[in-house]
């Protein structure tokens, strides 16, 4: 009976009900997107930085990793010193540079990373294997596509290009042994990796004992912050940043972003709430007479509230899944637009679906929609019956 009355009211005003459902769905979708946005970038940066398990990064004094062309000199002794520490599990030295690969369509340039295959944390193998010999190379899809080669092919690559002489320097013939994805590079960015010693040799005498960066993985249960201080004291010519510190920096840079998302999310929530409250208030007001009749024949106040609440809940129950779908589709679309933002690592997501946050937000919206019916219906059911019947023509 209660259900019949509730649904009859929704069906009687079909257009209004559909509009309300759409309105709430849009607001739920927006809310979801904002929740996804507020946590998405931070979480994906965090997982990006934590993924390879390196807690410390050493860069030339006063720079951030790869921020400049600056390099660390006497790198081998530095790496050896670090590796000698009992707290250190693994050190991955990285030398940055470029590879110029002549093709029939011109010279293709790719970012080059010289690493030690056994300890590197810069790429994930997709296919093939890591370089084992000095003349071996791995590259990402963007590079392989640009040079039109694949695993097993050999290429001639140079580490330097002199625009005045129009000549390449440090040319080697290298064999492609693997297809990889670089963790910190954007998808469209061309990259290749080869043994550290090979890249050094190609770059020439200057580079023979340099690195751009060293990543340090500590043994379990080592205090990363204490080690950071310790290494910074030990090696005053490098800047040591911890992953935690890097996350903090990213966090700081993203805080405006997050505030914006939180505010817009709150606005969506409020809009959704107001929408349902308005609908419920209108619905109660036009049924004041009907409610008075029900009260007059002995229907309890709680029943009348329940009936209105069921109406609100039904709208929410339909609108929220629609909003969820809408939000996910929108997030995906926006993500694909934002992913084209140049220079962002491939793995960064602006919108990250985090179940707890998403369910909390949608739960809040549903609860607010359900509660929105309580006040107007209770008020409507509390009016003086005789007076209301006198004033309201019903039926």
């Amino acid at each position: 009976m209660l259900l019949t009355l509730a649904f009859a009211s929704l069906v009687r005003h079909r257009a209004r009900t559909i509009l309300a459902v759409l309105g709430v769905a849009v607001s739920a979708g927006m809310l979801l997107d904002m929740v996804m946005l507020s946590t998405g970038m931070r979480e994906s940066f965090r997982s990006l930085l934590l993924a390879q398990g390196f807690q410390l990064r050493l860069a030339p004094k006063g720079t951030l990793p790869f921020d400049t062309e600056a390099t660390i000199r006497d790198a081998d002794s530095l790496v050896a010193l670090l590796r000698a520490r009992p707290e250190v599990e693994r050190v991955s030295p990285v030398l940055g540079g470029q590879l110029h690969i002549p093709t029939s369509a011109g010279t293709v340039t790719a970012a080059a990373l010289g690493v030690e295959s056994s300890v590197q944390g810069d790429y994930e193998l997709v296919e093939g294997r890591a370089p084992a010999a000095a003349n071996e190379l791995v590259a990402n899809d963007a590079t392989l596509r640009a040079i039109g080669k694949g695993i097993g092919d050999t290429v001639s690559a140079a580490a330097g290009y002199d625009p005045q002489l129009r000549g390449l320097s440090g040319v080697r013939t290298l064999r492609i042994v693997g297809r990889v994805r670089f963790v910190y590079m954007a998808a469209e960015q061309r990259g290749a990796s080869l043994p550290l010693a090979t890249l050094r040799a190609m770059q020439g005498g200057e580079a023979s004992d340099r690195i751009s960066l060293a990543m340090v993985r500590l043994r379990p249960r080592t205090d990363a912050e204490a080690m950071r201080t310790e290494v910074g004291r030990l090696l005053p010519r490098v800047t040591v940043i911890s992953t935690a510190e890097a996350i903090r920096q990213v966090d700081e840079r993203l805080s405006y972003f997050r505030q914006l998302a939180v505010i817009l999310g709150a606005v969506s929530l409020i809009v959704g709430f107001l929408l349902v409250t308005t609908l419920m208030t209108v619905s109660v007001n036009e049924r004041i007479g009907e409610i008075a009749v029900m009260r007059a024949i002995g229907v309890r106040r709680g029943r009348i509230v329940a009936q209105i609440v069921i109406e609100g809940a039904a709208i929410m129950a339909v609108a929220t899944p629609v909003g969820l779908g809408l939000g996910l589709v929108t997030a995906r679309y926006l993500n694909s637009i934002l992913a084209r933002f140049p220079g962002l690592p491939e793995r960064i997501d602006f919108f990250l679906f985090q179940p707890v946050a998403a369910w909390t937000a949608l739960g809040l919206l549903i609860a607010s929609g359900i509660l929105s019916g309580v006040y107007p219906s209770w008020r409507g059911a509390s009016l003086a019956i005789a007076t209301t019947l006198r004033q309201e023509a019903v039926g």
Binding site: M1, T4, L5, A8, S9, R12, G289, E290, V293, M294, R295, A296, I297, G298, V299, R300, R301, R303, S382, A384, I385, A386, T387, L389, R390, A393, V394, G395
Partner: protein, 237 residues
């Protein structure tokens, strides 16, 4: 007033109802006292605005008097809490309104089921009783119709069936023929007669002389007071 007290269904004493209209106090009832016995059929008549509906609303526990007492079936109802009053209306009072006041979204049978459901009667038994009630008021074949598909007289019959649903001690009707044409009104009068003959205590407010004549007792009101209260010739002992 010489009737045994146990048979008094309604006992009203010094009933006053005032409405505040801004600065002014409207005196709708100015100290009304009267008693209705079990199985009586009382018509309340009088000029418009004399307080008939106000009196009926207080008897039906949908309005509270400013002062005075009302007992129905021996129970004081003038100061009940909202929850108790609601329960009392459900179980003890049947109310029929001038404009029927049916739920438009529900069928005739569902309208009758509404107070039965509220009283906790479940599924099949409820449907069965609603059907029997519609049969009783002569609407057996209309149970699945919605109010909009019924004539005024038929709607009023549904409303009467709804009012009788929980076997009330007292059936109250406020101008029940007010919206009906003469012929349908006559049918309604016959129905009220039959209800009374079957033992239902009825208090009806009306302008309709025919309806008033059908009652065994007519109470005349004027300006918030009872000015005349007499039993019909045929019924006098």
């Amino acid at each position: 007033m010489s009737a045994p007290r146990v048979d008094a269904i309604v006992e009203v004493r010094d009933l006053v109802r005032q409405y505040r209209m801004g600065e002014e106090l409207v005196q709708a009832l100015r100290g009304v006292s009267f008693t209705v016995q079990r199985s009586e059929y009382v018509a309340i008549v009088g000029p418009s605005g004399c307080g008939k509906s106000t009196l009926l609303n207080v008897l039906g526990v949908i309005d509270r008097p400013t002062s005075g007492t009302v007992a129905i079936g021996g129970e004081r109802v003038d100061q009940l809490s909202d929850a108790r009053a609601t329960e009392f209306r459900l179980r003890r009072i049947g109310f029929v309104f001038q404009r029927f006041y049916l739920m438009q979204a529900l069928t005739a049978r569902e309208n009758v089921e509404l107070p039965l459901a509220e009283a906790g009667l479940g599924g099949a038994a409820r449907r069965e009783r609603a059907r029997a009630l519609l049969e009783y008021v002569g609407l057996g074949r209309r149970e699945s119709h919605r109010p909009s598909q019924l004539s005024g007289g038929e709607q009023q019959r549904v409303a009467i069936a709804r009012a009788l649903a929980n076997e009330p001690a007292l059936l109250l009707a406020d101008e029940p023929t007010g919206e009906l044409d003469a012929r349908t009104g006559a049918e309604m009068i016959a129905l009220f007669r039959r209800l009374n003959a079957d033992g239902t205590t009825i208090v009806v407010v009306t302008h309709d002389e025919e309806l008033a004549r059908a009652a065994k007792r007519v109470v005349h009101m004027r300006d918030g007071s009872i000015v005349d209260d007499r039993r019909a010739e045929a019924d006098r002992r």
